[in-house]
Symmetry: D2
Subunit: 137 residues, 4 copies
């Protein structure tokens, strides 16, 4: 179940993407998806996606995280992505990896449906750097 | 449990990384990790990682997959990554996403331990493009 | 020659990277380099780099540009990157490509030395999308 | 002016992309562009592009270079990209950067028109790692 503050975060992500014109800047297609994350300190950072030719762009999560880092924070409590129509979008694999690499915390909350949040561990089990050195040959 | 051909694939990945000098070419650090994948047609494709400055490189999975595509195939049956010491390395999030985007098949087999293989679905649950449009607001 | 406002932009980039702790957040190494860009409207956007394992990060330019886009702007007048020691860092190839894709403007100014700015055209001649269809077979 | 072997390399790049079905594998659009490179040892490596959702793919140059590295080579003599219609495509900025990072050689030849080759230095002047530490504050 989502709390009232979770629902406010969804609205924040939605407002972010609605606020930006969905259009092409040159070859760059922006603003299909908006992201809002809240850190454990309670600060909120947002971003929109930036799709490029030659695969040099990145998702909205990437940009919200970069903004957080610029503000000297890295400890994500919860994150959510929303498209222009208000649909929740679970993070792609690269974004799951980035969330882990930045936080080293399996318990980051990720909202994946309007009625559901899960932990990073549930979306990215068997993380490479934790798994491989424990194997027995 | 792994089959005999699974174990042969692990050896193939290991041989790939051992065959390449682990060193820096310019700023590019190569050959920490080797990958071998087998397609449903039974062909095997391999790659080694290529880490770059400015984050412009990619993992060994990326290169084995690109080689498969160049050979007009996309249907991965099973894939494994091995480091220079023979340890199995589960794919990072970006590689999990790429495996899905190329195959659109949840049931691709991924070897994650010397004694265990799982399906892509187990490593990348709640794939964004399958999840978000089914949500109820 | 650089103008007074150009020098202020260099200071802004420097302040951005100095403001952020250079350290590792998890596997992510941040804040070697800070970037400041000024748009034609006169707004300034900043970012710091984010280097990751598996090459899933990006340069400081990437993040300053993403922030600009989130604010519904794309028209870069001038951009500069500075490292923690105050050295000017010309953009890498990917960032040059991104500046072009976002602006479609060859005349974006890029500060490459403490005493010199050049245009994007000088750093990225023969842009692929402008060149190849004009060729004669 | 191009030599006979240069023209053969163009044909090799063209054959590579023509050999692969231009289609979507899942979300991945492949084979707009083919690349062939020849190393100083005289070996030829080829690749086709792989465009993905979430910007997790890469250009044809990337894959030809990865194949070269897997074969323990890094010294590129000359490289060319060709689209399905036989047009020469100059490398994007990321590929220029990658060519430099892999070779650390400004004099790599790059075919940019059917009648013209240039050096990497001409396509990527003021390389960041060579420039910034020589500046005078």
């Amino acid at each position: 179940m989502l709390s009232k503050t979770d629902k406010e975060l969804i609205k924040k992500a939605y407002d972010t993407v609605k606020h930006v014109s969905e259009r092409e800047f040159g070859n760059v297609v922006v603003a299909h998806v908006g992201v809002a994350l809240r850190t454990k300190k309670g600060n909120i950072y947002t971003g929109v996606n930036m799709e490029c030719k030659c695969d040099i762009g990145s998702c909205a999560e990437h940009h919200a995280i970069a903004l957080m880092i610029k503000n000297n924070e890295h400890d994500i409590d919860i994150i959510v992505a929303v498209d222009r129509n208000g649909n929740i979008v679970p993070p792609c694999g690269r974004c799951r990896e980035l969330i882990y690499q930045v936080t080293h915390n399996h318990d980051v909350n990720i909202i994946v449906l309007h009625s559901k949040k899960v932990t990073l561990k549930q979306l990215l089990p068997k993380i490479w750097e934790e798994t491989y050195y424990k194997d027995v040959k």
